[in-house]
Amino acid sequence: MDFDLSEEQRLLKESVDGLLGSSYDFDSRKKYMAEKGGWSKTVWGKLAEQGLLGLPFSEEDGGFGAGATEIGIVMEAMGRALVIEPYLATVVISGGFLRHGGSAEQKAQYVPAIIDGSKTFAFAQLEKNSRYDLQDVATTAKKKGSGWVIDGEKFVVLNGEGADTLIVTARTKGGQRDAQGIGVFLVPANAKGVTKKGYPTQDGLHAADISFTGVEVGADAAIGDPENGLALIERVVDEARTAICAEAVGIMDESLKTTVEYLKTRKQFGVPIGSFQTLQHRAADMFVAVEQARSMSMFATMANDVDNAKERATAVAAAKVQIGKSGKFVGQQSIQLHGGIGMTMEAKIGHYFKRLTMIENSFGDTDYHLRRVTNAGGLV
């Protein structure tokens, strides 16, 4: 048993922290948000240069063969810096579909462009009524010749407007909530019949609602078995959940630090407000919440290496519950302890809170995952 990072992992952490520390302060972030598309191509290029975009891909595919721990290191650092570039959508999720389900030809066609930073991707999954249920898919993919015709609507697709390629879940057979009959398809963003409506999200990212009307793709567009894709989707989404758990830990840790610093410097009644026991104990409770979240983020990271899908899913769900609870507490109390200044757009603390809030509502909220852990019979 060893919770320490290996030498390579430590170096990775140093280099990510170094890169984001120098190029990603709060003011730079504002400038990146104002750039075309809502994020910085320059930063993306630097991430590519440092090899971060190729991290999880195998060495044969031109990557570094890194695992969940390394992705966790990157995501935690991105949480600290509140990075808005589409790393989750492109590298973690879309990269995940290609790694776990892609054919040799698909990998050869798409992976190099992810690694060198020339192309970004988006995962079009959420539908109007699917909420957090991955097997609730109304969008259809119907056979036409050797290829497919896709029809349906997807919502809140992260990086949906700027992505070059969309990875779309669509039903090839069965009813809307059947576990069988779901496929995963690669769709060029500029394909005929694809209509996008982009918008910024509450936490400073960008997303789009996308409709697919008679969109034709070839047989080679399907990732894995087009009639049996749910296991692949669950695996990749579990990796995404694990990644945002790590991101949330970075955010919480930084929120706590920022808040403690504020308690030390802000004076009222002639003394630093951190001398008041009510506020001290609130900060202590925040510390407890962060440490419990950190532990469960590690638990989820570990679970990604587990072959048993049910065990993995339960562990990741449990982590998401803890992150949800800790995140809400740490986020809300960070604002509370900052007082009025925490309510302003110009203070960074509120932006941490907003991202934590959106993480809670991504890929299943606390109640959703608590139900999953419950129905799996718990952890003891």
Partner: protein
């Protein structure tokens, strides 16, 4: 990062588990499962079995009878012990006064006390808290005045756990009244049968008798019973309290109790079906299980850190263990109360003497719930723990 146990560690777990399975007396285990109090004889009998095996003082240095286990092995041993469940070694002897004696005591004291602690030939109790000195322990007033080769001790101790069984007490006494409050305290041990020692029971809200008041009136104690240096007792007390960081989370105890909740909740019916099938109840239970898993990992992080970097500078996460551990223990006793519902009410008048075998499992659930309110109070209340985090971790 590698969070799995090694083959050797898994084999060790099997060895420990098998030993408990084969050697913990069945009646002792049953009483613990049901939340009943054990008699002195039952506890001592088990500790002697443990000591004979060489595991009575497992974390002591090898030269005094310890095992030389790694931090992870200690963790596994404690978890298996708590999950079996079997009584933990008497903390006052094994975890508290023992380490103070082998660290600060002289040769004669080591030879005189350590083997008797290991075999529980002496039952030790702790004379720290006083009526006016709880969280503010250093304000204690019990006085030890030096007269020739004796200390004359006067004062009152309280919350003295199982003093009714004790042969020996380790006591914090003020030896210099002029010094600043932490500076004038000494660590003195003496025989509970000494003239002038009076033990009075305190009945707690569960109806049990675990704690006592101890009155000390002109108790004469030989000066050789001073451990370490005079007026350095506060340092030894701090050492003692900081010694058992990781056991305090009691993850194994909570795991065992969650299994018990599941077992009982599948027997008790509500609305025509077992309580365990009630979605709301199940979700509440799952919530506690998730908190417990997080605590277990936090504890493992601290354990792994100790194994690697020694106990000198504890991982900041160790402060979480007491707070979360006690909250979870209390949550499990609350869930048991929910399981039995209205049958929590009957008062088990025979409960504590072990003589009544006819009472069924419901009898101890309310007392156990009442009794467990103590876990967020003792050992430094959870509010004191938050003060510690505030100062030591956050630097406020």
């Amino acid at each position: 990062m590698d969070l799995s146990f090694s083959k050797e560690e898994m084999a060790f777990r099997e060895e420990v588990r098998a030993f408990f399975r084969d050697h913990v007396p069945a009646e002792t285990r049953r009483k613990l499962v049901e939340g009943r109090h054990l008699s002195k004889d039952e506890m001592v009998a088990w500790w002697r079995i443990l000591n004979k095996k060489g595991w009575g003082v497992s974390h002591w240095p090898k030269e005094y009878g310890g095992t030389g286990w790694t931090s992870v092995q200690h963790y596994i041993f404690n978890e298996e012990l708590q999950m079996h469940p079997a009584p933990a070694p008497l903390a006052f002897g094994v975890s508290m006064v023992g380490p103070v004696i082998y660290t600060f005591g002289n040769e004669k004291q080591k030879q005189q006390y350590l083997p008797r602690i290991a075999n529980v030939d002496d039952w030790w109790c702790q004379g720290f808290s006083e009526p006016g000195s709880g969280s503010d322990l250093a304000s204690l007033k019990t006085k030890a005045e030096r007269k020739g080769d004796k200390y004359i001790i006067n004062g009152q101790k309280t919350w003295t756990t199982l003093a009714q069984y004790a042969d020996m007490i380790f006591c914090l006494c003020r030896t210099d009244t002029s010094a600043k409050k932490q500076m004038g305290i000494s660590f003195i041990v003496f025989d509970m049968k000494s003239k002038g020692v009076t033990v009075r029971p305190i009945q707690t809200i569960d109806g049990g008798h675990e704690v006592n008041e101890v009155f000390l009136d002109d108790v004469e104690v030989p000066v050789e019973n001073l451990i370490g240096e005079e007026n350095k007792g506060w340092d030894y007390a701090k050492f003692l309290l900081g010694n058992e960081r990781t056991g305090i989370a009691r993850v194994g105890v909570s795991k065992e109790r969650i299994r018990r909740i599941k077992e009982l909740a599948s027997k008790v019916e509500s609305g025509g079906k077992p309580v365990i099938e009630d979605q709301k109840f199940r979700e509440k239970l799952a919530e506690v299980e998730i908190e417990l898993k997080a605590l277990e990992l936090t504890q493992l992080r601290v354990v792994a850190d100790e194994g690697k970097h020694g106990k000198g500078k504890p991982n900041p996460a160790s402060s979480v263990l007491k707070i979360k551990g006690s909250e979870i223990q209390q949550a499990t006793t609350e869930l048991l109360m929910e399981v039995i519902g209205p049958f929590a009410a009957p008062y088990d008048i025979h409960g504590d003497d072990g003589s009544n075998e006819t009472m069924d499992w419901t009898a101890q659930i309310a007392p156990s719930y009442f009794n467990n309110r103590k876990v967020s109070i003792y050992g430094g209340s959870n509010e004191i723990q938050r003060n510690i985090i505030t100062k030591a971790v956050l630097g406020l």
